[in-house]
């Protein structure tokens, strides 16, 4: 491994209206290393990489490649300089084959036509060299997300990338797919490629990276070697204070069942059966986690419980009250709280003030209103207390919800749902897109609510989250509950169940 860096970024500064996204960031990459770029959401990781890839232009700072100054004004120039990027959201054309996607914009031709055979051959060759096992003739829409990611990697390699930027690559993967990705990264490394790995997940960093650069609020905090780094240490660098990573919770003391679901069937929007005969219960004072890969019926299950979607058959009851055919309003009144999966689409009215958002369920009741007359002053007063209690930053009661960061928006939702004193709290993806500090807050709060005696149903695609928060874990696969585990189950075992590996392993 050469000591002279392959790529150097010096003093990169990028300002957006009202915010400095990168503030004099230094970063360097050696040949053949995996260098992790670690930071909370909004720390400036993606901005820095978008600058390197030519999507943004820095206000200040310079690049050096092999010691020579480099100017990159567009992704085209980045590709020519040997820099490839795999975005969080894939940029593939679903109806085209893998080979066609990869050779796009640099096609081997036979006369005016695409040389299909040559393209597939080249892709197969590349794929075998790096152990990617991709079928070139498959259509992109028919392959899994993990495979699509490999197609993106191949695309970059095909264009001659020596430096590969992976932007939060594991966000969309199952645990199995993640470990396969890490194997691929290792083989790329062995072939002399240099990799920048962007993430906010600490365990991944320690597993794969040789060096770790931590960004916080647009500034480089430190670059450390993997040897000697710990999750706690990195978290402190990321957040700037001590963070409790393990959820600190006592033993659950489950009481009587509060939420009971019996033999529930729910169709999705297209009329296809998404939930197929699910039964379970959640008791007072316990957190039941539902693990599973996205799209296995989780959303439909939640919507049926909260009244947002009609169940086709079966029974849902809260306490002793049957809610199966009730409206969202009736479910709310029966004591169901709901932290929705998508906070911007459903959880908040972005153009409403925070005070108005906090009143979203209660605006019809006193003291918010009386005889249909609304009291904005009271809305504001209540919001002020709650915002303080839940440590919402970035705005007051009269700030528009859209102006807040994702973490603070989520806190507003949690504040609203919890303050209604629900007996059942459905938390769907409660920490999606949040940074370490906000995750810690939401997790702690959920455990507190459990200890208050609420029944909490947690649905999450983050296995870590389900494992660390739940008292019992149910695995959902293709609309069925296929397994139940206690929280000390291994990730491998549960990961297997998530992809349908074990049909019925009811244990614990």
């Amino acid at each position: 491994m050469a000591e002279a860096p392959l790529l150097e970024l010096k003093g990169i500064t990028k300002r957006f209206p009202g915010v400095v996204a990168n503030d004099g960031v230094d970063f360097d990459l050696r040949k053949g290393e995996v260098h992790a770029l670690l930071g909370e959401n909004g720390a400036g990781k993606s901005t820095l990489m978008n600058i390197l890839y030519g999507l943004y232009h820095p206000d200040e700072g310079e690049f050096r490649l092999n010691g020579k100054p480099l100017r990159i004004n567009s992704p085209r120039e980045a590709i020519d300089a040997g820099i490839g990027m795999v975005h969080q959201h894939f940029m593939l054309i679903p109806v085209m084959t893998v080979a066609e996607n990869i050779v796009l914009a640099a096609e081997p031709t036979k006369g005016p036509f695409l040389d299909e055979g040559e393209a597939e051959e080249r892709v197969r060759e590349l794929s075998e060299r790096f152990g990617l096992a991709v079928r070139p003739e498959a259509r992109v829409e028919s392959i899994s997300v993990g495979m699509q990611q490999r197609v993106e990697i191949l695309k970059a390699l095909y264009r001659g990338a020596e430096i590969l930027i992976l932007d939060e690559p594991t966000a969309v993967l199952t645990p199995q797919e993640s470990s396969e990705l890490f194997e691929i990264i290792e083989s790329l490394e062995a072939e002399g490629k240099s990799i920048i790995f962007i993430t906010h997940k600490l365990n991944e960093v320690l597993e794969i990276a040789e060096r770790i650069t931590v960004l916080r609020r647009g500034k480089t905090i430190d670059t450390v070697p993997r040897e000697g780094a710990t999750e706690e240490g990195l978290a402190r660098l990321m957040v700037g204070r001590e963070v409790i990573l393990r959820v600190d919770k006592g033993k659950a003391e489950p009481g009587e069942p509060l939420l009971t679901v019996e033999d529930l069937y729910v169709d999705d929007e297209r009329g296809l059966e998404a939930v197929r005969g699910i039964s379970f219960e959640v008791k007072a004072g316990e957190i039941v986690g539902i693990a599973g890969v996205d799209g296995n019926g989780q959303s439909e299950l939640i919507d049926a419980i909260t009244g947002l979607h009609r169940a086709k058959a079966g029974r849902i009851s809260v306490g002793h009250r049957d809610l199966t055919h009730d409206s969202p309003r009736e479910c709310l009144d029966a004591g169901v709280g709901h932290i929705p999966e998508d906070r911007q689409l459903r959880g908040l009215v972005l153009d409403f003030s925070l005070a108005e958002n906090i009143a979203l369920h209660d605006y019809r009741e006193e003291p918010d209103s009386k005889y249909g007359w609304l009291f904005p002053g009271r809305l504001i007063a209540r919001a002020r207390t709650l915002l303080k209690e839940f440590d919402v930053r970035g705005g007051g009661p009269e700030t528009r919800a859209a102006a807040l960061s994702g973490g603070n928006q989520q806190k507003v939702i949690v504040a609203r749902e919890v303050s209604r004193d629900p007996s059942v709290l459905v938390a769907a993806q409660p920490t999606r897109g949040l940074d370490v500090g906000a995750i810690e807050f939401v997790h702690r709060r959920l455990v507190e609510e459990r200890d208050e005696g609420r029944a909490i149903l947690l649905v999450s695609f983050e296995l870590d989250e389900v494992l660390s928060l739940s008292d019992r874990i149910l695995v959902i696969y293709e609309g069925n509950l296929v397994a139940e585990y206690s929280p000390d189950v291994s990730e491998e075992e549960i990961g297997l169940a998530m992809v349908g590996g074990t049909r019925k392993a009811t244990a614990a």
Binding site: F16, N41, T47, V349, E356, L374, S405
Partner: protein, 398 residues
Amino acid sequence: MSEGAGAGSGYEIVSRWYSGLGGFFTALAAAVLAFFVGGLVVVATGHDPFAAYKAIFSGTGLSWFFPWVQGDERFSAALDLQQTLIITAPLILTALAVAFAFRCGMFNIGGQGQYFVGLLTALYLGHVFVGMPRSLHVLICCVGAILGGAVWAGIAGFLKAAVGAHEVISTIMLNWIALWVGKYLVELGGWMQGNEPDVPRSYDVADSAKIWPIWGALQPLHAGIFIALFALVVYHFLLNRTTLGYEVRAVGFNPEAARYGGINVSKNYILAMGIAGAFAGLAGAVDILGWKFHQAINDYDVSAVGFIGIAVALLGRNKAVGILFAAVLFGALQVGTSPRQLSGTDFPPELATNLSTMIQALIILFVGAELLIIYAWNARKKVGIGRGAPPRVKVQEL
């Protein structure tokens, strides 16, 4: 912020413009720009735009508000101002019909039809009852018009809620139905035709149903302007100070979040449309009881108050105060450019009313192009026009 700082801050800028003072300035800019382009057209016809605009302004009667205007001038200004305000009152109401539906996320193109339904209802009620005290009679007619407009618009709201029919299509269709049924009613022996079978004109409202004249003699300003002002206040408080308004706004901003919050979205579509129609229906009552007193067949073709209401709401940004000023502007424009007010030396009279229509259309266009205006405003800083411009250039010129 790393992911979406560009987009997020862009959205922020736009929404701050929209809600804050910037909204006022872009609306103002749109109006100024429209008058500027209108002025170019005046130049193209070989006339002096300043003289033309001066004549239009004096035709609006707004100079009555200047204390130094005295004598004959003041007298004729008063006459013109009465006309301007007569036109302004229904414009306020039809604009509210557009604005209220808009706040619930719907585009109500049906103001014209709702206006006709309200007008005919008030006409009917104003005719059949006789010997009633005036305040009671006017009240009954207005309530009838409000209900008529509400039901008419409510049909579109119901269709949207029940089968998802788009309100733009259904309100346009309802406009045509109202127009042709309305025409039939006053001609060819229709139920509301007057005594002369050869004249396609309705009967008159009873004297007891006429809204009180308050200012002037020949065609005096009537108290309808106060009804319109009161409606503005109702609109503001209904929207911002009631749970009904809260629901309407929530549905308008984000129906999915509203549903999640426990709000019945379908109910709100029907309700908001109904309330919108109530405003437009009241506009019809104000006109028929205030100064028209009967409806002739060609009145249907001349009337565009429901459509101009769309422009007023757009320019007024669906805010009560904005709608007030926009309605006065459009009302004044209409009166000021009527051929009666302009002499041929200022502007060809045959083009005068077209100029008014043109300026209205331009305002809609420019308000619609708001984003472009914001963009130009920001670009201005880069190019160095305006505040940042170096004064040195001027010195050299001197």
